[in-house]
Subunit: 356 residues, 2 copies
Amino acid sequence: MNQARIKRVTEQMRRQGLTQILVTSTASIYYLTGFWVEPHERMLALYLDEDGRAVLYGNAIFGLPSTSELPVITHSDGEDPVGHLAAAVRPGALGIDKFWYSKFLIGLLSHRSDVTPVHGSDPVDLCRKCKDDMERAAMCHSSSINDQVMASAISALREGVRENELASLVNRAFLARGADCEGTQLVCFGPNGADPHHSGDGTVLQPGDSVIFDIFTPIGRYWCDMTRTIFYRSAGEKQRQVYELVRRANEAAEKAVRPGILLSELDSIARKIITDGGYGPQFTHRLGHSCGMECHEPPDVSDASHVPLESGMVFSIEPGIYLPGEFGVRIEDLILVTETGYEVLNHYPKDLQIIG
Amino acid sequence: MNQARIKRVTEQMRRQGLTQILVTSTASIYYLTGFWVEPHERMLALYLDEDGRAVLYGNAIFGLPSTSELPVITHSDGEDPVGHLAAAVRPGALGIDKFWYSKFLIGLLSHRSDVTPVHGSDPVDLCRKCKDDMERAAMCHSSSINDQVMASAISALREGVRENELASLVNRAFLARGADCEGTQLVCFGPNGADPHHSGDGTVLQPGDSVIFDIFTPIGRYWCDMTRTIFYRSAGEKQRQVYELVRRANEAAEKAVRPGILLSELDSIARKIITDGGYGPQFTHRLGHSCGMECHEPPDVSDASHVPLESGMVFSIEPGIYLPGEFGVRIEDLILVTETGYEVLNHYPKDLQIIG
């Protein structure tokens, strides 16, 4: 148990009027207890009250040891997964972690009509938002690996290559440099780049294609996440114009980062440049997301996110323009907020690049 | 929209007294609409009423086209993701898909205190449980690829190899044969095999190790999932004894498969053999899980799963024995229930094998 973190979480609970919460995300439980468990469809929940009393409820298959500091109450595959938990929570408001499965919440409520579920992730998420020194070092390291892997991926572009070959190459390059696991890397050629979430398939590289590499992985549990768009063989006038607009939006938002400014202001700065350039409707998503032990963490970087920046926050700045049937451009860095300004964690260049 | 499937789902809804449900899993939405969307932390929900009226609610970033058959109502990143949905659902019981995030359910309930959430996955899950001819063919194909990849993985065992190298090799072998993506493959050497969920790390192969390969991937959206345990260089008396016990449990449960028998009976058959052999407490998990467009689907194969087998069901039979600090053994096949019995979808041999 990390008692210093527990204490910060309970302070946040008091500030928000929460007397009890269920922490259920793998990363949040790890953050507080040191146990990393991916429960998949099985039940795992850390009950925490405002005095810092913690009890972990989970399936016996996870093999977690019970201690006096952190009692572990287990159930087996055949048992009601929320039975013990339902017997233990107090009446009234119960903060629920955002991604807990509804099947467990509905099960809990069916036992306990005197419990009112409320949003309960903030106490932990607000602590996780500002990375401590160890976490900052881990994220700098991950992003420096990402710079290397991006260089490998871009240098592997050649006639006939398929998106999923490059995605596989990116995974291998990450693993060889210490990544925790393989994942779905986004590699998009030409028109595929107009879908912000396209993942690498059998599409073959064509001369004149834009190529989006949006690559990310956890290394030592902390994620990197970077996007570069480059051009294969040639770049037309429209491609160049769109690229420069996105680059300007990315750089202007990054330069504005400092403690006190709102995340929503960063979104506005980037969005105004793209809108003034005539592509506002084609910038279809938020500017970015926070990042840490999960690739996407709250708070997000959107026009609705009126959260002032604080030292230690790490988030992406990733404006994009998507032209269905034609191509897409996205440029993304991770940014660390420092006491006086910011540090860009990615160093792979952003000048327009034509390969091959 | 697959109207035949919608009709079967609404029949199930009536049988269960549900007048409205929210379908939110990627695979279930695909099963009914043909749209495959992985929403990650964003909101996507298919509202379905007992007359088969369907409306899809989701983030605009998914780019889903609205039609008269399936109206799509979108929100942007900055908007309340459940606002439109809250305005549309009827008072009373609302079936909720099992893995919907609590943050959305709590958001919905904060708008609508006249709505009571109830378990709502069964109508779709009961339809998905029995695979149709196309689905059976897809699963046979996936498992035949798995046989090939298992053979490649086992033949790659050699002095000095690390678990995560083999996991990466398995992913590449799957991809080369048409897998949809890469994933976390379970490769466990020696004592690591005593953790049923250990995933491949930097552990180096040692003579005398048991080696568990639990490998799985979707191919054409349908999963394969197979486990084999083999021995490197030698197998001691205890390893042989435990192996044969697990193999007998696996084979006895498989031979009992036929329409009408209960899933829980299969669990009992395997568990009795392992218990009689003296290792009951070391068989720490359910016998298996159903499989289809998700690797783990309901119903599970456990002592609590009193579900009679029907033709078209596909599930795993995967008994295991886990000896902390020593080794583990697990043997898993996917089984298809046929009109008169069963078909084992995996053909990689299960005789005790010593390699190297």
